[in-house]
Symmetry: C2
Subunit: 513 residues, 2 copies
């Protein structure tokens, strides 16, 4: 596959290889002396809380981004709104190239996952960006913010919510463009910018925004700057994503909490009910036991399989670092697990309290949040339907609301199942000319191999770009893989910010004939 | 059994029946006009936070109790300390009767279960006592605290942590004695008072306190005023308790939270591990599948079985009120469930977050707190050992601390199991003379049957009184059964406080030859 790719690249792009290499050196010479200022601005950006679903927090972020764009000479800056109540606008801007017939839009998102500050390590706070000499769980030490003339070690980590996911995308896209502008390099394409504010809640209104502004947003490619790079630190291009949908599942016991001594053995225990129900969903090799769970999967093409086989397996190194003895399944490789198969995972379970907060009670309810990742062929509603059917087949009355007393008295097993907004997987063919040009551009910025992933494990609603705009999305992640995105102690390794600017700048400089 | 009991009573106590009835009428005439003052003092008592394990909170409660005792002319008031660091003292006092050769000690505890104020109903706060016209979950409305001359409806509820469990015990004991003193009634026995501060944490130091003060605390009977009365509202005497021990169980996944898309299907999920482990512990009829779990059980005696059979089954009424369709087991009655069998119950499970707080992650750990109730014959350490063996038999390395990285890398399944301080069950024979006298005294205060329970479902370390002091404990609960003890929205129905004073006063007036 590597040889085939080289041939493909030579056909489309050899002519530009040398000039882009020169361009990257210019970009580097421009950004290196400015790292302190870039970091300072980034810390200010990360100080703005950006909890998904919080309009006032998110609008403040959108305004900050608009300001960053204005400072960099980007034009036609505007908020693209959807009509829905509580919808969070996307931030749009453009830098048109006179005479250009091709357009590339760069995407990142500025909203973040919810935080539980209590779970963050001592000295960290989600919205008080904090530098450390390395990962805190591997001996990194907290650092004071450096002086203006200090040397910034590229191995340092910057801890904050969205430091990696995905304000890093906003940062690298805007600063890549700025570096091009500052160095006087001339793009061949129109460059547009699109920063979403609703990605973490499932991009509820992205479809409507794309639909309403389809002329403004029409392009030859969307470059999606999100997600982590390969664990080896090699640059990476990803041609698809898994889909995603959540299920929130609650089962019931007695209406009020009961003393476990005075009622134990008699009153039904919802925690035990939930445990028994969830245990029916997977076998001990991680195979999902829900009927038909794997039926709709469209397998990888031959070239996608070959690309996957060419990627060094990061599993042994990651497993060592993450300190576990066995992956969930003894028969699947890491890349197969996250690329070729749908998942059913427990994101969280809560029933009453544990440890020092525990009381000797029989809880009233037990709740789990499930995460279903989808691959090409899965439909989010069909997939959640299978899980709901499975719950029914275990003898449960399934409701989409709390049960009434009458329902409780008539049904021994009741589950309330609420489904989050889901979306399906998407895959762009690696063989498209634009795919080949992007591969070549990224290769021009690094002396190492570039990892080509047929699909990421993570999710973005990229199918929308195909369905609504008929434009292929290609994902170019820029952050370190060990960034704790979505969890506590999220961080970015700052060297990845500088490298990411070069990656994105190279794509902005593509000569797309 | 009822006929047998009547005969037994006539042998021991018929002579006192009339005089006690008169005494109870006197007691009632004394307390009825004072309900407002009693309630006001009780609200002040309940305003003192009394979280188990919090020495400063609990010492403030002990001081308040000492003050109540002093006001009531109780002598030799003192705090009985254990030597252990952080031990909470018991409050002792006495009212000796000149010439008396018999002594009865009255026990209650003043510490409370931990609270999670967020879970309490709107308008309630654990340590701001609040009156309501009835149970809030059955349409009761919050009430302003009444004026001094207001009529207090005995159906009203007073909401606060420990309103039922077990400051109600302290309240009724001290006010029962006070009413005796105020009315000039003359007890035949020495009356002693013992209020423990460590019951909710398993009475860690009670044994030491009894041992150190065994002369002061020697008696002919301990009357334990704790736990709820029969669901019918009938007065009740309980001759034993189940033992209790908790297990805190944590299983592990990767060392840091992982994005469920980028790692899902590959990284082991501790929530799913825990679910699968817990599901092995019980079948779908509530039978515990841990090897030998029921082996040590000493069955009830013939007379205990007969007493149990005479008790009206509260299950249908309770089930209706608690709104569930089927008890845990289709083959056990309520009374069998809580009296004759050890239990294994999940008190709580937590792994990451659910619902709006959930993130799309693979959690790092999953924790459950288990509650094991014990019956006569079970030993707490032997019983937890069986559960630990069961966990081992499921392929787990069991530790009593967090695993090291080396252990994580060498063992696919690791469980940290920490055992709380546990204690064994206890049963006093109903056929003892003192048991019969107490039965007769309680009967003198009510026109209804008195429910005689061979054992409660709940737990107190009553075996200590037998083992250390060789004194039979007998439990006389005074609070309504639907009091939410240990959970949120704990409450007492205030009429039970007034009736409880009469119950306890009648026992204080026993003529124990």
């Amino acid at each position: 596959m590597k040889i085939l790719l080289s041939i493909a690249i030579s056909v489309f792009a050899t002519a530009h290889l040398f000039s882009q290499d020169q361009a990257i050196l210019k970009i580097r010479a421009d950004h290196e002396p400015r790292h302190f200022d870039l970091l300072k601005e980034y810390a200010a950006f990360l100080s703005l809380p950006n909890t998904m679903n919080d309009p006032s927090e998110l609008v403040a972020n959108a305004e900050f981004i608009s300001g960053m764009m204005k400072k960099r000479g980007i034009r036609n800056i505007q908020l693209l709104h959807a009509d829905a109540e509580g919808a969070i606008p996307a931030v749009y801007g453009e830098a048109l190239t006179p005479g250009a017939t091709r357009t590339v839009i760069f995407y990142a998102h500025y909203d973040g996952q919810p935080v539980n500050p209590d779970k963050w390590a001592e000295g960290l706070s989600p919205f008080t960006p904090q530098l450390a000499s390395g990962p805190l769980d591997k001996g990194g030490q907290l650092l004071d913010f450096p002086a203006a003339n200090a040397d910034l070690n590229p191995d340092w980590r910057l801890y904050a919510r969205s430091a990696a996911d995905d304000k890093a995308g906003v940062f690298t896209i805007l600063n890549a463009y700025d570096a091009i502008r500052r160095t006087g390099l001339a793009p061949h394409v129109n460059i547009k910018f699109f920063f979403e504010g609703e990605e973490e809640r499932g991009s509820t209104n992205l479809g409507e925004i794309l639909q309403k502004h389809r002329d403004l947003l029409r392009a030859d490619a969307w470059i999606i700057c999100d997600g982590p790079m390969h664990a080896s630190g090699k640059k990476q291009i990803t041609f698809g994503v898994r889909g995603d949908v959540n299920l929130h599942l609650t089962v019931y016991g007695a209406k009020r909490p009961l003393h476990s001594g005075n009622y134990g053995n008699w009153a039904p225990n919802p925690a035990m009910k939930l445990v028994r129900l969830l245990a029916t969903m997977k076998d001990d090799e991680g195979h999902v036991l829900v009927d038909g769970f794997y039926d709709d999967v469209i397998p990888l093409s031959a070239s996608e399989r070959a690309a996957l086989a060419a990627i060094p397996d990061p599993a042994p190194m990651m497993q060592q670092e993450l300190a576990f003895a066995e992956p969930e399944s003894p028969t699947r490789t890491f890349l197969e697990s996250i690329t070729t198969l749908p998942t059913l995972n427990i994101n969280g379970i809560v029933s009453a309290n544990v440890g020092r907060l525990a009381s000797n009670i029989i809880p009233t309810t037990a709740t789990a949040t499930l995460d279903l990742r989808l691959v090409k062929g899965n439909d989010s509603r069909r997939q959640t339907g299978k899980v709901i059917d499975h719950i029914r087949n275990q003898g449960y009355l399934v409701l989409d609301r709390e049960p009434t007393d009458e329902e409780r008295l008539a049904n021994a097993n009741i589950a309330t199942v609420r489904s989050g907004t889901g979306y399906n997987a998407q895959r762009t063919s690696m063989d498209l000319p634009v795919s080949q040009l992007v591969i070549e551009a990224v290769k021009s910025t690094t002396s190492q191999d570039v990892v080509l992933m047929p699909s990421a494990g993570g999710s973005l609603p990229l199918y929308l770009f195909e369905e609504i705009l008929h434009t292929p999305p290609i994902t170019v992640p820029v952050v370190n893989y060990d960034n704790n995105q979505h969890g506590e102690n999220e961080n970015v390794q700052i060297g990845f910010l500088w490298n990411g600017m070069e990656t994105i700048a190279a794509i902005m400089l593509i000569d797309f004939k």
